[in-house]
Amino acid sequence: MSTHSVKGPSGISLGGLIRRPETGSLIGLIVVYVFFAALGGKVFMGAPGWSSWLNIAAEVGIIALPVGLLMISGEFDISVGSVVPASSMTTAMLSGHFELPALIGIMGGLSVGLLIGFLNGLIVTRTTIPSLIATIGTMFAVMGLTLGFAVLIKGSTSVSYVPDATTKALLGTFINGMFNVSIFWWLGFVAIFYYVLHISPLGSWIFALGGDKESARNAGIPTAKVTIGLFMASGFAAACVGVGQVMTYQTAQVAGGQAFIFNSIMCVVIGGVLLTGGAGSIIGIVLGTMTFAVVNQGIFFAALDPNIGSIIIGALLLAAVLSNDTFRTLALNYSPKKK
């Protein structure tokens, strides 16, 4: 099941390219981009347009990578939606309210993500609760705790924090006044996750987990450790986005972040990851994220009603799943003939 995603292309040929599982996502991205470029015109195709959708893609993309890996291993993580505000609130509270150094605030925010991820992993591996339900549970618990602590400590649902110049430059600045520095963080995450999934042996373990958990365990894969690690990765990634948002907008809010739940899942699915696990690729997730961001921002450049954007994203999701199935069948059927 996993082999077709792991192996690199043995030679560049059109046939081989079409049979790559990411082809569907790539075609989707091109179609969507051309559509909005035609409507949005020069501004959308220029640097302002690119930076606009890349900024959106970077944040949701950082979360979509580990969420995608979890989905490949057969798990969901809904709790990312409340980790984002929880970590930004923690950072703003530590560095803004208690005036501790920025580094402590950032560490605090990131450890919140790691801790929630660890809890998710424990619940999923130690009990028989499906990850979808378990992480919905932790999401609500974390949401309540964030609100409770914010009101208890600060007496307010939003906390302000003005970061120092270096921290702001590293985490929340706009290069050239347009490109959010988070785009580079996203590229870094892509490189790391690419290595983990497609080069390191851990990658085959993750595919194996999604394929068949029982046999994976029997084959000597430490399934519990891998699962807990993946949940911690997604908590960490969501926390990174939360911390980055505080540095960028200088305010942490209790509400918000919920949008990341479905947005990240959509990016992953549009990117060709199999909902039931066992198949998917980092390139696919990146392409899916870019497609999602192009639609999301293209709407405003094309001066269409934003509700139409939601309709397009919805339709795109269905089309992606259908076409990915087609391409997957193609890829699986044609592979043996090459030998």
């Binding site: 900024n55 939003s158 347009m178 960028t248 907008y249 809010q253 947005n263 405003f300 509700n307």
Partner: protein, 324 residues
């Protein structure tokens, strides 16, 4: 409270009033409001207590009744109103948050002959319907209108209101007010509707604002509701390379908003001025109970109050004092 203790309380009140050498009746005013640790309501409470200093000097008192939480707001607040009646209130101030649950209790106040002022929520309509003396509070539409008028008078002719919650009645009232306000100053207004997926996501709001500005270069003024959306809007403007050209006003303020006004990144913030709600509601009732004087102006507006570069330092002082 037993009959005796109530008698004792009344007797001591009369005694104190006599000692204070006033021949008028001392006013025990009960104020129903939000949780005292809620940042907005702590300012309303301070206003009520500051007005209460006068009431106390005249032998009266001000008692704050707030719910423990907001889980069961309507019935809890109605219960507080009845408590105030039972504790022998001479006058009652209350917000008409949930009319279905609270109106019967307010009707009981009026039926008992206790002077009533509605504040914060409900508007003059509620005050008239319930037979209250007056309404003290802000009106969402007028707050938006003030923002539009401010930017319009500053020479901006094309405004857009950022709506991150399409369909929410209060946000639409703010935006309609903004559009009418800027139109009154000779400009035009529009609404930037965001998809539901953008709510609470600062990046999505910022990028939407930026794309909208790039596609509509004639826009030179924006209005956002709440501190978070306002900060995101400012970021969107900066990213579109229009910092200084597109001016922003926002509803409400926090530390970040005040800092942005000081640095000139934000033109103005529109404030409901909760302190005034508590202060004037209590003052009106205290004077009415003590001297029978009334305020013929119906609907005492406590907002919109504009915070801009000219008064931001004073506002920061007010924040430190807990009044803003």
């Amino acid at each position: 409270m037993t009959k005796f203790s109530r008698f004792a309380a009344k007797a001591s009140c009369t005694l104190i009033a006599a000692c204070a050498a006033t021949s008028v009746m001392a006013a025990d005013i009960f104020v129903i409001g939000g949780k005292p640790d809620d940042p907005f309501w702590s300012r309303v409470k301070k206003g009520a207590e500051d007005a209460g200093i006068v009431a106390e000097a005249q032998g009266g008192s001000v008692t704050w009744l707030g719910p423990q939480n907001y889980d069961n707001l309507g019935p809890d607040a109605a219960e507080l109103i009845r408590q105030a009646i039972d504790q022998g209130a001479d006058a009652i101030v209350g917000p008409d948050w949930v009319p279905e649950a609270m109106d019967p209790a307010f009707e009981a106040v009026v039926a008992a002959g206790i002077p009533l002022v509605i504040y914060n929520a409900g508007g003059l309509e509620a005050a008239d319907k319930l037979g209250a003396l007056n309404y003290v509070g802000a009106v969402d539409y007028k707050s938006g209108y003030a923002g539009g008028e401010y930017l319009g008078n500053a020479g901006h002719k094309n405004g857009a209101c950022v709506n991150t919650l399409p369909g929410a009645a209060n946000i639409e009232a703010f935006c309609n007010g903004f559009n009418d306000g800027i139109a009154a100053a000779g400009g035009t207004g529009s609404v930037l509707q965001l998809p539901a997926t953008a709510y609470g996501d600062s990046t999505a709001v910022a990028q939407a604002v930026r794309a909208h500005l790039l596609q509509n270069p004639e826009i030179d003024a924006m209005f956002a509701i709440g501190g978070g959306d306002t900060s995101a809007t400012i970021s969107g403007i900066q990213q579109s390379g229009k910092a200084g050209k597109v001016h922003v006003c926002g509803m409400n303020f926090n530390e970040t908003v005040l800092a942005n006004i000081q640095q000139g990144k934000q033109a103005c913030a529109v404030d409901q001025q909760g302190y005034q709600q508590g202060f004037f509601a209590v003052s009106i009732l205290n004077n009415y109970v003590n001297y029978g004087v009334t305020i013929p102006t119906r609907e005492i507006l406590t907002g919109p109050g504009i915070v801009d570069a000219s008064n931001v330092d004073l506002v920061i002082e007010g924040v430190k004092a807990g009044a803003r």
